[in-house]
């Protein structure tokens, strides 16, 4: 039984999971209370269980779709037309949907261009993308346990469970407009699954930490999230192409985008950002070190910046007045009018931060704002994470009304992890963190270059780290 708008995905997934004739019944999401809908689907379900099988339903089989290595032969104008082909998809009101691209023009992946891209790595073209080290995957509340994936495990790209060779990643990298000297980053993206996650959204987003940002010229300064910088834009875009071609994501057919990851205005088809470790206050670790790597190693982390503009709004000058002379709105808010800083900006930022959302978040700070936190007393990033997390505690009576709490607690059937007690046994005034389960896993502070004292605030905690150097 599934919902009506998932019809094409159910039909598709029946084959993917080995039962192409699986009987299914559609229910409507809009039936008030569900009672009328339950009355409607019940006889259909029982009929599906008892109606004799047809000859077709009794047949075993084997599904083995093959793809040719050479997809197209022709002139460049002909190739451009071929790669830009679209199909109309009923689930999105017959709007056209790109077959091989993210919808934008691509660089045609000729054999010569792909061969040039492959010079950007020591790995062989026919090597299957596998994990280059053990990866610890996080759990999720009471509904999913964490687990470890082993070095050498073949990477599957979701939602189609596809695998990829180094050459196939190179084809996508050429199409996205990447250069051979960036290819190790592209391969680390592939090792991460291309940001395809569990296949339910439209890719993910990527953070780079380590010296490679400078080697390849990534913009970590003003406009770091905007247009103009080729590595940021084209590597970010590569995630979209991996999702489409390696993962096989096709809207409403293999997955349904409901605003997660790439399917939102933040990632908008590609999100790639690097850390400016030179701007870190003394003793603050770079993201690479936080993820268990050395500071001279280049690594990539996936995350989901699906919430934007968190916390209080202010102009950069208002922040400077607040810290330098104790004037302006933030100083009034915190009751430090006329008193020079350093002051604790986090108290301003987190006012009502969790009012309508829960979970941790990511701060992109210019060096001065990071240094102000350091001078105030936050001598490590971990201290910032801990402070933010503790600010998010609220009584269980309030936590019960949150949008994701039914899911994270698996319908309140599991145990609350810190107390070890069942959720249903805890009193109303028991304090629960709305800001995630674990401060070090649910928060990021990324320092970027720039003098203007305004920070970017995104959602998303820590994903696993993947070595870029392993793919050089």
């Amino acid at each position: 039984m599934s919902y009506t708008e998932e019809r094409e995905k159910i039909k598709h997934d029946r084959t993917l999971y080995g039962m192409p004739q699986l009987r299914y019944v559609e229910a409507s999401r809009s039936s008030l209370g569900g009672v009328e809908e339950a009355n409607k689907v019940l006889p259909l379900l029982l009929d599906a269980l008892t109606r004799p099988l047809t000859d077709e339903e009794k047949k075993p089989g084997h599904w083995a779709p093959k793809q040719p290595r050479i997809l197209f032969e022709g002139t460049l104008p002909e190739a451009e037309e071929f790669y830009q082909q679209t199909e109309n998809i009923p689930g999105i009101l017959n709007a056209p949907y790109a077959v091989y691209t993210d919808g934008m023009p691509i660089v045609i992946p000729t054999e010569e261009r792909v061969a040039a891209m492959l010079k950007g790595t020591s790995h062989k073209p026919d090597e299957i993308i596998t994990l280059q080290r053990d990866i610890k995957m996080r759990g999720m509340g009471n509904i999913a346990e964490g687990f470890t994936r082993k070095k050498g495990d073949v990477v599957q790209f979701m939602p189609m469970f596809r695998t990829a060779t180094v050459e196939q990643v190179a084809v996508n990298a050429v199409m996205a407009g990447c250069k051979p000297e960036w290819f190790s980053v592209a391969l680390a993206m592939a090792e991460s699954g291309g940001g395809t996650g569990d296949g339910r959204g439209w890719g993910g987003a990527f953070l780079v930490s380590g010296p490679i940002y400078k080697e390849i010229g990534m913009n970590v300064s003003y406009g770091r999230l905007g247009p103009g910088n080729p590595p940021n834009k084209n590597l970010g875009r590569l995630g979209s192409l991996m999702n489409r071609n390696l993962g096989g994501y096709k809207e409403t057919v293999t997955g349904i985008g409901v605003g997660m990851s790439y399917g939102n205005p933040i990632t908008n088809g590609g999100f790639m950002l690097a850390e400016y470790a030179e701007g870190l206050p003394p003793g603050w670790k770079g993201l690479n070190e936080e993820l268990g790597f050395r500071k001279d190693e280049s690594v990539l982390m996936t995350f989901q910046p699906s919430h934007w503009g968190l916390g209080q709004e202010h102009m950069p000058g208002v922040y400077r007045s607040f810290q330098r002379t104790g004037h302006g709105a933030i100083a009034r808010f915190l009751g430090v009018k006329g008193i020079p800083g350093p002051h604790n900006y986090l108290d301003y930022l987190t006012k009502d931060m969790w009012a309508c959302r829960d979970g941790g978040f990511t701060l992109l700070l210019p060096p001065q704002m990071a240094m102000d936190l350091y001078d105030y007393g936050f001598k490590t990033k971990e201290a910032v994470y801990e402070y933010l997390w503790k600010k998010s505690f609220e009584p269980l009576s309030e936590f019960r009304m949150r949008g994701r709490s039914d899911i994270l607690t698996n319908g309140w059937t599991g145990k609350e992890k810190r107390s070890g007690k069942y959720w249903k046994e805890l009193p109303d005034d028991y304090m629960v963190p709305a800001g995630g389960e674990n401060p070090e896993q649910d928060y990021n502070v990324i320092v970027c270059d720039g003098q203007e004292t305004a920070c970017d605030r995104l959602g998303g905690g820590k994903g696993p780290g993947f070595s870029i150097d392993a793919w050089r």
Partner: protein, 93 residues
């Protein structure tokens, strides 16, 4: 690159693992006395009235239930597979 030159262009699509396709399990002649498993995952809303109605209208069926709010349903154990006659799975998202 000459405009009329013919190029070989490579395929960006990944490798699709092969899948063995299974026939459907034999259907039930009658529901009476059978063990039917309700595998509930994802959104629970329609299941609230549906589970209640199934159990009320078909008391001679041994209804077993596993629920998760996550998208991945709980699997049946080997022993449960031996004693279960049918499964209704829903509603993922």
């Amino acid at each position: 690159m000459a405009a009329d030159r013919v190029y070989k262009c490579l395929n960006p699509v990944g490798n699709q693992p092969e899948v063995d396709l299974f026939p459907l399990a034999p259907r039930l002649k009658s529901l009476d006395g059978k063990t039917i498993h309700l595998s509930i995952c994802g959104e629970q809303d329609i299941w609230h009235p549906l589970e209640k109605k199934l159990k009320t209208d078909y008391p001679n069926v041994n209804w077993t239930v596993k629920k998760t709010y996550f998208i991945t349903p709980f699997e049946l154990s080997e022993e449960e597979r031996k004693t279960t006659d049918a499964v209704i799975l829903g509603v993922c998202w």
